[in-house]
Symmetry: C2
Subunit: 348 residues, 2 copies
């Protein structure tokens, strides 16, 4: 019951104890000391090309110490350490299985290693679940009890809160909403499944589709746009055929779509429709009060949101469709740290 | 908390109070008096072609009275009335919205009408949710806390129990697992969505696919098999081209597949693979302890279950796949009544 009513206690930020947070990503590792969603310090480091646990763990420990120093806080003033990490991981045992973007990680007992180092209560969650909790306690989901958080960036992740409780599943791997197939006879996803939402509508998928069209000679206008907007333009200008992978990204495709490049518009529209289909599935499966959309791809704005909403309007069952509010995430780039810290408030 | 521990109290059947149950279907309406999963009486009636509430409700009331009579039980010996009804409905308000197979039903306050008639606590649920609860308390799911029930018959329905609690959603319409799209650019489902699991893998879909192949002249062997196994064979024998809809059913396709008719084998295999894809999505979304498969289509047996399991093995993420048990439902044709009665034990 303490979990279910945790949210109501969150309104008074100053009543909250301070916590340490770790946002462990494939590119960056960030640590912070927070009180609620207020950052008292923040320390970032690059994950690097060689993130073997034995190399990276001492650096995480040092970054936590540094965040404490910068906040002017002693270890015994901290209620616990919350960690958001790439899945798959088991939040119950605290073991990180083998995230595709953390090379060399295999069944790492990250929670226990942190507890041995700092002697503080430590909780670890899939990064999307942690972000969902952050938005639920401190962001767009405040005041709700049943929310689904969907983050659409490089990949697509999900976090689900039902009756105020995080949906974790029997092995702590639930809510892998990006690995729901919406195209069962389609193309294979990195995860091994076929036609996953992530395989169709992630940032990586947007860039992949653009590059394939350019490589097939169908994207001259997009290619020209991308080259003119790319930092590589000057250095590559006189090469006959630069590799599209060096200058075409999801961000460039979004800019091209806004500038009216037809191929880019079509890619954004297809992406938006696929996300809409995923949201219809989420509405039919969870009948949630609110769906919170986060991640860089949602920053495309109306060009993405309008076709997405059209698909939902056309396809979803009326009763759950009329019940759900679709909103954008509010915590921005700190969602990983705020969510990781929220794990302490949630689990106390 | 009483809900979460309800299951543990269920083991001693004789300790349970008696309840009345109504299983309201598009074809049949059944009422019963039960103690746990033990039927003390059962009364069935046909829904008929004209199931307007004002006509059918007095008949339901009479059938409940008759079930009480036959069990030799007075109304004041009954703890409550549980109702399983076709969705969409709102289990919180007790209102049945507009089920496709109950013509003339529109926002019927069925729970209140029953309470006014019998002055007993009355609970109503989507039929698949009620069945899930029945299997959880008295069938294959005993001892589990996180189960997903999927019933594959005329349509495909779902019920989800998480931490011992039924997933109901904010409007009481959650767990519409049959209306999860797995083919987002596919064909339109009756529900308005596109490429729903139900549209691809239900009993109706099996028969539809067979009839389409026969109508296109590609199913001569299946047509001959169906005619020879159909009760209509004799009466239609000398007509030149009987309508396949009069002699091809999902059951006939299953028999033909077992007899080695290639088209029927292919239809069963495609159905099985689509169900497997749906189960992979369920595994990724819920990471459940157990998935319970019910409904007539599952009675096809190994020809269905083996391709389904192959797809799961090939496509699902390893950790949640290894954690889940896939089992067949145990309550058989009484699942609707047992599940409806279980609503009383669950909600007390």
């Amino acid at each position: 019951m303490s979990k279910q009513t945790a949210q109501s206690h969150m309104t008074q930020q100053n009543d909250l104890p301070m916590v340490a947070a770790v946002d462990l990503g494939g590119t960056q590792i960030r640590t912070a000391v927070l009180r609620g969603d207020r950052l008292l310090s923040r320390v970032g480091l690059l994950t690097g090309d060689d993130p073997l646990p034995k190399r990276i763990l001492p650096r995480i420990f040092a970054a936590i110490d540094q965040a404490l120093d910068e906040a002017g806080v002693r270890l015994d003033q901290i209620a616990g350490i919350g960690v958001g990490a790439p899945g798959p991981l088991n939040s119950r045992t605290g073991v990180v299985y083998a995230p595709p973007n953390l090379a060399g990680w295999h069944n790492v007992p990250l929670r226990d290693l942190l507890e041995q180092q700092f002697h503080l209560p430590t909780f670890i969650e899939n990064d999307a679940n942690a972000a969902a909790l952050g938005e639920y306690m401190f962001g767009a989901g405040r005041g709700c009890t049943d929310i689904v958080y969907l983050t659409i960036s490089t990949g697509i992740g999900g976090g689900v809160i039902l009756g105020g409780k995080l949906l974790q599943g029997i092995s702590g791997t639930a809510a892998e909403l990006g690995h729901m197939s919406i195209d069962w006879q389609g193309e294979r996803c990195n995860c091994g499944n076929i036609g996953c939402l992530e395989q169709i509508a992630s940032g990586v998928a947007i860039a992949r589709r653009a590059r394939a069209a350019i490589a097939a000679g169908k994207g001259n206008e997009l290619r020209a746009f991308a080259l003119s907007h790319s930092a590589l333009e000057r250095s590559n200008y006189d090469e006959s055929e630069p590799d599209p992978s060096t200058y075409v990204s999801a961000r460039i495709v979004a800019l091209a779509a806004k500038a009216g490049v037809p191929l880019a518009e079509e890619i954004v529209r297809t992406t938006a429709e696929a996300i809409g289909v995923g949201l219809v599935n989420i509405i039919h499966i969870f009948n949630p009060e609110m769906i919170i959309l986060g991640g860089g791809v949602t920053q495309i704005g109306a060009m993405l949101l309008e076709p997405m909403q059209r698909v939902m309007r056309e396809r979803a069952m009326q009763v759950p469709y009329e019940a759900v509010k679709i909103v954008l995430a509010q915590l921005g780039s700190n969602v990983g740290l705020v969510g990781a810290g929220a794990l302490i408030y949630y689990n106390r």
